[in-house]
Amino acid sequence: MIGDSTVGKTSLINRIRTGTFKSDPFPTIGIDFQTVQVKVDNEFYDLQLWDTAGQERYHSITRNYYRRVDAICMVFDITKEQTFLNVRNWLTSIEDTVFEPIPLLLIGNKCDLRYINNKDDKLSFITRQSGIRLADEIGPNCIFIETSCKTGFDVDNTIIIATKMIIAKQNQKNNCKVNGGINVTPKSNYTKKCC
């Protein structure tokens, strides 16, 4: 899970894990991870959710964890344009470290604020369309989702989609391996994911 500071990466993981929302959490130090069990298609999967620090100074550390990761969630804050603009920077840093295409989730967080404040038209928000457009631009392996950690909107959906994407990718890989003559059936449903 990567993205600028204060977009809600830690909150998102907390929401997924505990189903609660804690306002004003502490800035993440370096890197942190949580394990979550997800049920998809009547099977249980263990996901490791890696939480990274958004502060620029920690990038040198967090960048090392992109490798050997099954999926990446890029989080931005729909109320702050600059976080959306910085998504491209994150993308380049992913491309620098990860060479094969991996499932990407573009998450527009804090979408509850849109429904609250939009009446006033005070704040300009990143629209859903622009998010989808960016996701399309990035490639076919990228999906755009809007979530809200405060209300829990679409949070569970996000994790399920992520899991499905990972499974699809692994199946693809396995098929390749089958064609190559080596049949490896994954016994454990263990998957790893960087969030």
Binding site: P27, G30, Y58
Partner: protein
């Protein structure tokens, strides 16, 4: 078309006057065959005519010729002509196509001609406009020229005046020189005449005490003997040693003037000071040998005060030094970035090179920081593309961003950004206090929420940083930067890009060791603070804490830990004082700034712990220069945060002293700490006294209690003694009662 128009007009004309309407009517349907012959060329004509506007002048001249050309000889009416035509057409006598073609071409010609006329008119209009414009420009230029001429006249007049002044001054100087020369000669003559041996011997004794010991006696004594006077010697010496100085003759003259007014003996000192100022750092050996030992310390003092020029207001409100100038080329104003008009006067600061309109003076950002030519490391930082640290090249150290010889050694970029952030926070605080009554804390939205934590757009930050670093004419106006986070980003990026962090890597382990000891002493307190979200208590100073603890705990334990903590803080302070000057000052400045940010937690929502986490890797940095594995980096983070929290522990006074006191060394800090320890000892002793008193009181109480118990014991003993008596009486009573019962039954 002209056919048709003429035809219609002919109809109108013809219908009114006379006869053969029937004939006309019978002929009217006839035009049907006409098109077959005539209309072929007609439509094109019509089209071309319709598109072009009907010309103002020519219609009569145009319409006449085609219709009248042929019939002019016959002189028939239009109707007759038409009749002829129809007759021709009816009788299949074809119209002479050559004629028609000729007419068509003619008409076309006319058309073209008219087009050309229109074009010509257009061009004439354009020309007129350009002429007007050019005339305006000429007018403007004329005005300009006149103003220039006036300015030139003014300047030349000023120049003449200056020239005159200069001449006068030169004359004066020449006069003075001649006077001095005369006097010298007189003095020399006088000395020669009197040949006062005692003065000479005294002089030699005074001046050459040191030089006699050295090998330079020859030249010095030679010159001395030649001049035979203090003043002469000095002047010649100055001439010989420092003739490369530009203002030397003037200073010399001044000296001599002073010499005139006063005696020769005390004159030695001012001259030395002049020398010391001129060659501040490099005191030529010649001088050292020559000069008497007495004035030496003074020169040293001068040198020192020059090398560490302390300007305490460098951080807050150092005033600008404005000069007025005339603009000869268009320059943008530093404040409002509107160009300064030609030959209008503007102000420029002689130190920071800011260029402003005279009206904008007041709005120029205040601490005036002298301009610093971009050196290699500034250039390198500007060229830094992103977070990647370039290998090779010059090492980026914070010292390279501070001009030499200034004392609060804080880079201008830091001072300006932090001051701007401070200002905005202050503003937010004011807004907060004013709106506090209506808006609850949760809903309050200030622009400074999450200062330093929220990241800004990378590109903006880099742009602003480069603008500040590259600024030639004063620092750009930060008021105009909309988002505070961009400014914060500049601060963070600047610190991040330094290759040696503020806590220098050489001292890294010292810092960790010092701060770990501090954190050992305050884990409980920290935990308490974290729980209560109450960080102000820690910051409120030593005395409060002591009093708090003595009040709450009431025994010597708390003060003991406080003692430990202070002793350990003292160790940390000592380590801080050992840091290189730029590192130390910048660290002090930054910590004070961050303390302020944390103090305004109501608007910024930033706690000290959060700030510590954010700034730990930037300020404290890593322990090694060589790149480390991510695991190692990760392992060092808690230590960094620990150091940061320890730095936040140190009271504000210490930082302030670091920044404002001239020679704030470890000794003075020790003195300071000694004072605090003294205070602590006093506190300790007082608490001990209290304890002793308490124990005495307790003893007294105990003794009282003992007495009381003794007093209580006595009645109980009495009671015990009384008990058998009582039991006996009860027995007696019982026996008595039984006796009575027996007697009754």
């Amino acid at each position: 078309m002209y056919y048709s128009s003429s035809y219609h007009s002919s109809i109108r004309v013809r219908r009114d006057p006379r006869q053969p309407v029937a004939f006309f009517l019978s002929n009217l349907p006839n035009p049907s065959p006409l098109p077959s012959i005539v209309e072929m060329p007609l439509p094109t004509k019509k089209l071309t005519k319709r598109t072009t506007p009907p010309p103002p002048l020519p219609p009569p001249s145009l319409s006449d010729p085609p219709t009248l050309q042929k019939p002019s000889t016959i002189k028939l009416s239009a109707l007759a002509m038409y009749d002829d035509m129809t007759r021709y057409s009816n009788s299949n006598n074809l119209v002479d196509f050559n004629e028609v073609n000729k007419i068509i071409s003619l008409v076309k010609n006319f058309d073209e001609c008219r087009k050309k006329w229109a074009d010509a008119l257009d061009t004439i209009h354009e020309r007129d406009e350009t002429i007007v414009k050019l005339q305006e420009e000429i007018h403007r230029l004329n005005i300009h020229c006149e103003s220039m001429k006036k300015a030139l006249a003014r300047e030349s007049k000023a120049k003449e005046e200056f020239q005159k002044e200069c001449n006068v001054m030169r004359n004066k100087m020449a006069l003075l020189r001649s006077m001095v020369a005369d006097q010298q000669r007189q003095q020399n003559d006088a000395e020669h005449r009197t040949s006062n041996d005692c003065i000479a011997s005294r002089y030699i004794d005074n001046t050459d005490q040191s030089s006699i010991g050295d090998d330079q006696t020859d030249t010095d004594t030679g010159s001395l003997l030649f001049d035979k006077s203090d003043d002469g010697l000095e002047s010649t010496q100055i001439k010989s040693t420092e003739s490369n100085h530009r203002f030397e003759p003037i200073i010399e003259v001044n000296d001599e003037m002073e010499n005139e007014s006063s005696e020769s003996k005390p004159l030695f000192k001012p001259k030395l000071t002049v020398k010391a100022i001129r060659s501040a750092s490099v005191i030529s050996e010649n001088q050292q040998h020559r000069q008497r030992p007495q004035p030496m310390p003074r020169t040293v003092n001068l040198v020192r005060s020059q090398t560490t020029k302390l300007e305490a207001d460098r951080l807050d409100s150092r005033p600008h030094r404005f000069m007025e100038k005339k603009a000869f080329k268009t320059l943008p104003c530093t404040v409002c970035s509107v160009a300064i008009g030609f030959y209008s006067s503007y102000s420029t600061c002689s130190e920071c090179r800011a260029i402003v309109h005279i009206n904008c003076r007041g709005r120029l950002a205040c601490p005036c920081l002298p301009y610093m030519a971009p050196n290699t490391s500034i250039r390198k930082m500007i060229s830094l593309p992103g977070d990647k640290v370039l290998s090779g090249g010059k090492f980026l150290i914070i010292g390279d961003f501070v001009p030499d010889l200034t004392r609060p050694c804080v880079p201008a970029i830091l001072i300006h950004c932090c001051n701007e952030i401070d200002r905005r926070i202050r503003q937010a605080m004011e807004d907060f206090t004013t709106t506090n009554t209506t808006v609850s804390v949760q809903d309050f939205e200030s622009p400074v929420v999450g200062v330093y934590r929220i990241s800004a757009t990378d590109q903006d930050v880099r742009q602003l940083r480069n603008r500040i670093l590259r600024a030639e004419h004063g620092l750009p106006n930060l008021d105009r930067i909309e988002s505070i986070h961009t400014i914060c980003g500049v601060v963070k990026m600047f610190l991040r890009n330094l290759e040696d962090s503020l806590v220098s890597r050489i001292m890294w382990h010292n810092f960790v060791r010092a701060s770990s000891q501090i954190n050992e002493t305050i884990p409980k307190q920290l935990a308490m603070d974290d729980v209560n979200d109450d960080h102000d208590k820690r910051d409120s100073g030593v005395d409060d804490n002591i009093s708090d603890h003595t009040r709450s705990d009431g025994d010597g334990m708390a003060t003991n830990t406080m003692m430990n903590k202070n002793r350990r803080l003292l160790v940390l302070k000592k380590v801080i004082c050992e840091l290189p000057l730029p590192h130390r000052d910048s660290l002090a400045f930054l910590i004070r700034h961050l303390n302020y940010v944390a103090d305004c937690e109501r608007v910024t929502f930033m706690k000290r712990s959060a700030l510590a986490t954010i700034f730990a890797p930037t300020i404290v940095g890593n322990s090694k220069f060589c790149p480390q594995s991510p695991a190692d980096l990760q392992r060092e983070i808690p230590k960094q945060i620990m150091v940061m929290t320890a730095l936040f522990e140190i009271d504000d006074k210490f930082w302030q002293q670091l920044l404002t006191e001239n020679d704030f060394s470890i000794q003075s800090s020790f003195q300071e700490n000694g004072r605090t320890t003294n205070r602590l000892v006093k506190n300790m002793s007082s608490t001990i006294d209290q304890c002793v008193e308490q124990s005495q009181q307790q003893q007294q109480q105990q003794s009282k209690l003992v007495k009381k118990s003794e007093t209580f014991k006595q009645p109980s003993q009495q009671q015990q003694q009384q008990q058998p008596v009582k039991s006996a009486t009860i027995k007696r009573h019982r026996s008595f009662v039984e006796n009575i019962r027996k007697t009754f039954y």
